[in-house]
Assembly symmetry: D2
Homo-oligomer: 404 residues x 4
Amino acid sequence: MAIDLRYNAEVTEIVTATEQFIADTVLPLEDQFKGDLEAAGGDDLRVEMQGKAKAAGIFAPHAPVEYGGLGLNMSDRAPVFEAGGRSVFGPFALNINAPDEGNVHMLAHIASEGQKQQFLAPLSAGDVRSAFAMTEPSPGAGSDPSALATLATKVDGGWKINGHKWFITGADGAGFFIIMARTSGEPGSRGGATMFLAPAPDKGIEIVRHVGTIDKAGIGGHCEIKFHDLFVPDENVLGEVNEGFRYAQVRLGPARMTHVMRWLGVAVRAHEVAVDYVARREAFGTRLGDLGMIQAMVADNVIDLSASRALLIKACHELDLGHNAGDETSIAKTFAAEAYSRVLDRSIQMCGGTGVTDDLPLARLQQELRPFRIYDGPSEVHRWAIAKRAVGKAKKAIDAQDVR
Amino acid sequence: MAIDLRYNAEVTEIVTATEQFIADTVLPLEDQFKGDLEAAGGDDLRVEMQGKAKAAGIFAPHAPVEYGGLGLNMSDRAPVFEAGGRSVFGPFALNINAPDEGNVHMLAHIASEGQKQQFLAPLSAGDVRSAFAMTEPSPGAGSDPSALATLATKVDGGWKINGHKWFITGADGAGFFIIMARTSGEPGSRGGATMFLAPAPDKGIEIVRHVGTIDKAGIGGHCEIKFHDLFVPDENVLGEVNEGFRYAQVRLGPARMTHVMRWLGVAVRAHEVAVDYVARREAFGTRLGDLGMIQAMVADNVIDLSASRALLIKACHELDLGHNAGDETSIAKTFAAEAYSRVLDRSIQMCGGTGVTDDLPLARLQQELRPFRIYDGPSEVHRWAIAKRAVGKAKKAIDAQDVR
Amino acid sequence: MAIDLRYNAEVTEIVTATEQFIADTVLPLEDQFKGDLEAAGGDDLRVEMQGKAKAAGIFAPHAPVEYGGLGLNMSDRAPVFEAGGRSVFGPFALNINAPDEGNVHMLAHIASEGQKQQFLAPLSAGDVRSAFAMTEPSPGAGSDPSALATLATKVDGGWKINGHKWFITGADGAGFFIIMARTSGEPGSRGGATMFLAPAPDKGIEIVRHVGTIDKAGIGGHCEIKFHDLFVPDENVLGEVNEGFRYAQVRLGPARMTHVMRWLGVAVRAHEVAVDYVARREAFGTRLGDLGMIQAMVADNVIDLSASRALLIKACHELDLGHNAGDETSIAKTFAAEAYSRVLDRSIQMCGGTGVTDDLPLARLQQELRPFRIYDGPSEVHRWAIAKRAVGKAKKAIDAQDVR
Amino acid sequence: MAIDLRYNAEVTEIVTATEQFIADTVLPLEDQFKGDLEAAGGDDLRVEMQGKAKAAGIFAPHAPVEYGGLGLNMSDRAPVFEAGGRSVFGPFALNINAPDEGNVHMLAHIASEGQKQQFLAPLSAGDVRSAFAMTEPSPGAGSDPSALATLATKVDGGWKINGHKWFITGADGAGFFIIMARTSGEPGSRGGATMFLAPAPDKGIEIVRHVGTIDKAGIGGHCEIKFHDLFVPDENVLGEVNEGFRYAQVRLGPARMTHVMRWLGVAVRAHEVAVDYVARREAFGTRLGDLGMIQAMVADNVIDLSASRALLIKACHELDLGHNAGDETSIAKTFAAEAYSRVLDRSIQMCGGTGVTDDLPLARLQQELRPFRIYDGPSEVHRWAIAKRAVGKAKKAIDAQDVR
């Protein structure tokens, strides 16, 4: 036993094949349609790309082997998802887009056998998309989960759900929803939440609108939705009643890290586009890439990408060891989201006027990336959590001293 | 004589009237059309808004009084343009948008009486728009003006212009162009450039395309254009032949500062939107605006806006004194462009998920603003110029010492 | 009336004379004694330098004319104090060091005629030094003035003061103290504070120790002191009883700005030392000052210094208009303290290995400067105050809307 | 084979024992003498502490087992050196201070058997200290090694060395020097350098002075020295003639990383001191550690420390695999040096006024740390190297495309 940071040969092969697939099959489509997946064909294109990914042997790298995936653990997912993330269409081609990828992960851990057959199997295979309905408009559950206001009431043979959600990614066209609803306590108190599996479409689920956001690369929108007396039978309770907050944690850490992986691919691509640009262009009689201020930006990109990847690997390793890794995943997510933003911004700046045109993908990728510092916990909430742990530990040590 | 930073009553009245006009007449339109001026009506809407601005007595605050303007100097333009800049439609309503505003300034200083009648009068009145054709695609004139490649050749009774330009703001639909073309020397050497006034449209001017850029608020695009044997008669030479680089400087400093003024309005608005948001919303049982990390962002916004305004005022004062103000305008532009970017970014972050939606104007304003760190000289070029002056001065002092 | 940022001829002459005096008389001493004023002669040297400053006609530029000063307002003090601040010994030479300078300012505004004769006259003349005893060790009055714990009890003919203070600059050897003590209410509530004038030394004043701090340039230490039944007669109450918190505000804003002025001098000097260095040295076959990354540091220094000065001028102008200027002085102080830190840090970095040696003054000046982000209100407290005002204003506007 | 970031049990035990030893034996001495090792006893104290470290079984963790060390590879050194670095006296106690530690590493790789007996054995045992004489005052070898000006001339039976060096750490009192001198080519060209082993003291080695630097924690100074016809016999050539630049690389990467390890210990300690402070103190009725702006600083410290450690582990792993790791070590060094500076600065700020006093170790630790962004290659030089590699790789790819 000793420190080892090398991937085994199997993973390395998957990474190489994925890079090849993205470069040859996916990026040309992204560039042609300027990153607008709906315009490029939406679900039809997704299915088509997924077919090719299956043929290439790189489909669903995270899904259980028995459901057609490659069964990679978190550490091994990292380089594969990064390779897949180089195109914003890539995660859809590989079936590792949010929220499907996190839903696969959670269902594999928590669902009953029957639920796996009904929900996990088609999701792993890309036959359906799914949604994860947790976030609510103010004053409901956002950064503060205890504000959960969507209510599930026990009725005969199941539950009736009423509530209001938004930022429900991919909701429009999803084959089923995983819904987080309050089953005990009051908004503001923690109380108990439960997760429900609800096939869609359903008359109890209203798609109010696609919330207009700065990112455009997905399918099915970031939707505002309402549940009107949505009936969910008892057998569609995911796990145990009132254990929803705990299950959310099971999904949370890994899903946080797969975001970091995919966006790493985007940031690496942007950096490479910019370095290619400054390696070609001249101004003031010098190659741009030989000017000190440009070199500083190139180096800062390299440093930011390296540090993000190193923190990601650490957090994945902790998760693979079965640890909660709340600190490590918050650290990696917060650092990476900010580092990628810097990388994108510098990459644009390095390309001057061309950087803000759609002759290069940089400006639109910056828009895609911007929300990542907010989605999945704003940086401020993660910092608050990190600090609470650090200060709490110090308080405990002080109290222990005081007792002695 | 003593330090005085107060505006006189007349200016204060114009500022107040402009704020009122923007709030009541312009911002509602911007919000309705999500900042897309072409979609909102383009030139027709511009003319309509300009009519209302004339009625409000705030039209063309920078234009000479004899051409229907208010004749304000740079110092007094600052608060008025800031007020007008609060809406991205505002500068069009007041006739102070780029490049028209800078063209008015330059024509007022350099044009002959006849040219003033023909070009300045209708431009000041808003009867036409104009374009300023200087920037060229690589390897032509961009950050490095000496690379100027567009060529004007002397012919009988005038000049023939051939060349390739891009980022020519408002070119599509402009009533005339001011064209910067080489009249002596070779690209790479400085040599001599001349400015030409060319009515448009003209068969010698080809609008190749609207370059797709991240900012969307203008009229007439940022165009790529080509000149094919465009004939300009001798009387349409602006100023003297071969003095174009010098005239560009006349336009440069003030135009740089009016950008800073207008974008200050945008940044102030974004800050106010965000502060309003955090003053209303609660999370974790606390008003967002009472949380320390949010307060830090609010304060940093205030500091950035204050410092930008203070540097702007200093630079304008230098220009009003008739100084070159190369240092002061570079400092103000570089600081402000970066400060506004920070302000926009923090404002979005303060509003969480809502910040990246088009329920608020912040995300689209961030896109509008991004190019400002590149247009009108990237920050890196300004830093290089500032440092060259500082180090050059030190070298000179060292050489003087060595002589002694 | 119009914006004017020019100093009048009299002020310009004082600035020039001060620069000359500092360069010829003061800086050589500072460099010889590596910035250690006590080692250089302490109070004896101070008196000697002050004699020369009087001869040069630049002594006590802030003090009332009737007490031998030059009577400059805040705006005019700015460039003079900056010139004086170029040497850390300079403020002592000009009698504008803290806390004497702020005490002169406050006494001129609040003291009775008798108090002026007894305390202001010798202080203005440099015959004595003074101390301002407000800050207390935790849990007393620090960033939070309402925690004031030092107690003044009414006794026959005067007051008895007991309490514990620290960071009392110049206390050791001071001719008198201005003491802030609680005269009503309890620590934690605001209640009432009173200011007392107490000649020193006195058996009721114990100098516990010089607190060892990172800055070394002063005289008389940053002392920890205790008051043991210190008797102060009624005629030595400064202003009105229970008005101490209000008077502290009178002193606070201007004293905050004079710190910004003096440290600006230090930062400008450091920048010039570094620019001189990079204008001389070569590496990799290039003058350091021609390398892009060095140029970026030079330019960022110039920008930081310019913005600090511009914010300072704005705040001084507000104070001269008689405004409270709480926002403007907090903004200028917070920005400048952080900007100067960046300037010092970059200046060291520009000089490489030499930068951290005492062959140059930079490393010790960085130490002198570090506390400025904490003294006189840490940046965090100023940000909190700035944000509270901004959010408070927004809340008020919201409430006003809601009423309508 | 799979990613594994866990240390084996043996290493974990060494780490624990080292932490205990530093806490119980070393830190109390550091605090008592405010970090001044010379004042605390210098070499005598070093020898005494080393005796205790030997007794604790944690002495010389990096040295070969046959020379009394623990024989740890780079990856395993990381947590041990971090633990030892918690006190600035710690590296001396463990015999892992610079330059001795790097010299042990290099001698173990390059020295002949006889040289090992004569030089490596006593150095590993702590019987002598050593110096590494490479850096020269301008215009000699600093960031640019090709400027090497110290000259070794072949004479009968050996070499005569003449030259001028500075920043030679520990030179005063060193038992021997490793000297880098030019043996072919001219300063400015690369040419050939050779390393020589020279016992000290010697009449040919003049200690000109201890260069006064901001860091104070070492023994034997950062010296300016001169070589006057210093004779070195042929058997004291280290490795091959003219291979010095290559050998310097052998030393460089690992020595760069051990700096990062030791300073990580300092940064972690500073962070813990500050967190302990904010967990105890209250202001405005709240524990400091519960205030948002303080929490942001705590979290940023945690993030910076985590990212530094993650990059360090990556670089050490590369070195252990036998790779050159030029990129990885530059990235880790540059990021860590800047991150630690931020950590120290925030830690001081978190403690307010107390932070700048010597009641806490923070202010003096900040001074110790400042040079790390310059020593061992300034951040700017590392960024230049990182960018050159990245842009160079892009150019190569472009050229390869162009050929096709």
